[in-house]
Symmetry: C2
Subunit: 426 residues, 2 copies
């Protein structure tokens, strides 16, 4: 299917299928979910699986950087002085997650790599496989850890304070346990533009591809995320003796805000999706016969169009002002304020050309509504992503599933894109 160096290259569908199944046994619970949280036993076991697979099948030495990211180097590169192409994703999972989120990106990179190794395809650039450390939310309370260290979003001093909230283990100790080197963490940091391109394949997690029926999409940007931690103070009072017109009900205030915010977001017209969620809320005193006196909650707003997020923030401000006017006290703290990150135009173009050249495929290019390692990598160099269809849009659950036919398409698009980027970039 894919033509390069006069050899027709195609990934091996059966092999990647088997690899997904095998890696998907690690951390598998009785309920059928995957549990490979950062620095857990299953995280270590999955790292060993990947390491062993790369060593045995490619006859290469696998290295672990100071951030405990795993690296494997392609053996048939002709110009070691060029800056490398990097392909991969992460091997960890959320609690009771699925077999695809993270693992599929590592295994698609591995499969493309293996296909080229088998034919001893010569590449100009060095090519590196990567399996990144701790991408998912975890008890150490930091996500996309490996790529944050690589890109300098965080440093040793900042990370020194992080601890596992369940066990108390310092993050530094966990990184060392995984084969990293916290003391020498700076050595994992890459300089700006010190790689030619970083490419990550990942399941979509949403349902845009499922609804359109397309197997893959090119990611043009990573959504902006704005998050507040809000406290509304009303007045705890007797649920019987306090009449409706003398209440300062904090949960009712949150309820009204939640409904109004949703109505507002649904009314916005835009090519970019915009979403808002109150996912966390704690009520005080939280008793059936007492009017809630206080709620503490998060509001999460996301869009690839930061202007829309800013409009929604402004609307939110009006809602809070209305609550203050009727006697509630509102305390707002912005805890996340990440603008959308554009992925690299050249990578988007190359992916797009590959897809457009296949008459069986429609070209879909859209924004990722979830955060990814690729967003951190974009801060220091060319970064790109390819999404694979999630059946029913599911992710972060045991029902998460991508069809092998769609995975095969993604593998071949990735393979062709690596070859094209290798050829077209210096």
């Amino acid at each position: 299917m894919v033509k390069s160096n006069l050899i027709e290259l195609k990934i091996n569908k059966d092999r990647i299928k088997k690899n997904i199944e095998n890696l998907g046994q690690i951390g598998l619970s009785k309920q059928g979910g995957i549990n490979r949280s950062l620095a857990s036993k299953a995280d270590i076991e999955s790292r060993n699986w990947i390491k062993t697979y790369w060593q045995q099948n490619f006859n290469i030495s696998v290295t672990t950087d100071a951030a405990a990211n795993l690296w494997g180097e392609y053996p048939y590169s002709t110009n070691k002085s060029l800056k490398p192409l990097i392909i991969g994703s992460h091997n960890d999972s959320v609690p009771e997650g699925g077999k695809y989120d993270g693992a599929l990106g590592v295994l698609l990179a591995t499969e493309a790599f293996q296909t080229m190794v088998e034919k001893q395809i010569k590449l100009k650039h060095p090519l590196k496989l990567i399996s990144l450390t701790g991408e998912e939310p975890n008890p150490y309370q930091i996500s996309t850890l490996g790529s944050k260290i690589i890109s300098g979003v965080v440093d040793k001093k900042y990370l020194a304070k992080f601890k596992n909230i369940e066990t108390g283990e310092p993050l530094a100790t966990a990184i060392d346990r995984l084969g990293g080197n916290f003391k020498n963490l700076e050595s994992a940091r890459w300089l700006d533009n010190d790689f030619t391109a970083f490419i990550e394949c990942h399941i979509e997690q949403g349902r845009r591809l499922f609804d359109s029926g397309d197997p893959v999409a090119v990611v043009k940007k990573i959504t902006g995320i704005y998050r507040e931690l809000v406290v509304i103070d009303g007045e705890a009072n007797h649920a019987g003796t306090t009449d409706l017109f003398h209440r300062k009900d904090a949960l009712l205030s949150l309820s009204w805000l939640n409904v109004k915010l949703r109505e507002y977001l649904q009314s916005l017209e835009s090519n970019e999706p915009v979403v808002g969620t109150i996912g966390f809320a704690e009520i005080e005193p939280n008793a059936a016969n007492i009017i809630p006196g206080r709620v503490r909650f998060n509001v999460d707003l996301r869009s690839g169009d930061w202007g829309l997020v800013e409009e929604a923030i402004s609307y939110l401000g009006k809602l809070f002002t209305n609550l203050e006017k009727i006697g509630l006290k509102v305390t707002r703290n912005v805890i996340l304020n990440q603008k959308p990150v554009d992925l690299n135009a050249k990578i988007i173009q190359t992916f797009s050309n590959t897809i457009a050249a296949d008459s069986n495929l429609n070209l879909k290019v859209f924004t990722s509504m979830a955060g990814h390692d690729a967003a951190n990598m974009a801060h220091i160099g060319r970064s790109g992503m390819l999404f694979v269809k999630s059946i029913d849009g599911k992710s972060h659950c045991k029902e998460e599933y991508s069809k092998i036919e769609d995975i095969e398409v993604a593998g071949n698009v990735l393979l062709q894109t690596i070859l094209d980027l290798d050829r077209e970039l210096d």
Copy 2:
């Protein structure tokens, strides 16, 4: 002021003021709240205070029934074969509660009693002081305990399973610790119509008297309370990748329900207040970046007009049906379904006559929106209540306060009503 047996009787304002202050030292926290939860050290201390006061001032022996209710018997009754009048309230409190809820009723009964003892007023009927056990919500998870046992609302078999959720102590052990006798609990049970009248004074807890400026009100009934424990199951999903039109957000469903219910209740027109509250809610998984998949919450509806509660239940049913239509799963469990309890017409009339006879007072007669021991007592005999103004409508908090001038009015109305009921009833 009050004329009876040719002697002008008046309660002693300064004495009851001092008693409120003294009893209000027991269980007083640094924050200024009262902590006399059932079977706590301060509960026991307050019982001892009451016991000692009754013994020393009235020269009577104080008895403790099997439910640990305290009883004191009036010494100047002429016809021991008549069924007794009972006056009192409870001595326990909510955590960080006030000095008046419960204690004021015990001390007003004590003051009226003391005023009559001083003048050696002869009554036809036996008259009993009572301080009831465990009226407030407490860690043993049963409220109005003393009056429930007296009236047979609960029995030994039912209570045998109750335990303190914090310490694990069985309720039976706690009752015995307080001087009760769990093994012989039936002995605390009163037969139907085995007393002439039960009369309880209590702070209003609401703000109707505060708003009207009147010191006291006659209670005509105790509100009906309907309570459900509801579970809404939606779908936990990614807060970024799940578009607004494919969400089954359990917290948003609760929010919508809360807002609609409030709008509905405010639209009802009635002479009886009707209130509804969602005071307790727990969200799963409760994380900022995950759409809530499940909420568990209480809906509490109250009115003296049960027809209104039934209308609200029916409206609630429609709201739940709407949620089910858009794919949420709703599981409802009725956990409280207490119809309003009418208090005794003769007692209401006697209280009203006393108030109407005083040209300084306006007659207020209304429904109690909180539950009280008097509701249990009404199941087995004549039961009546008098409310005293709560400043700002506050209760169950350290700011709870009633003015001594209002308390004085209540004491004199209570005293006159006892004398009138004694004369008018057999």
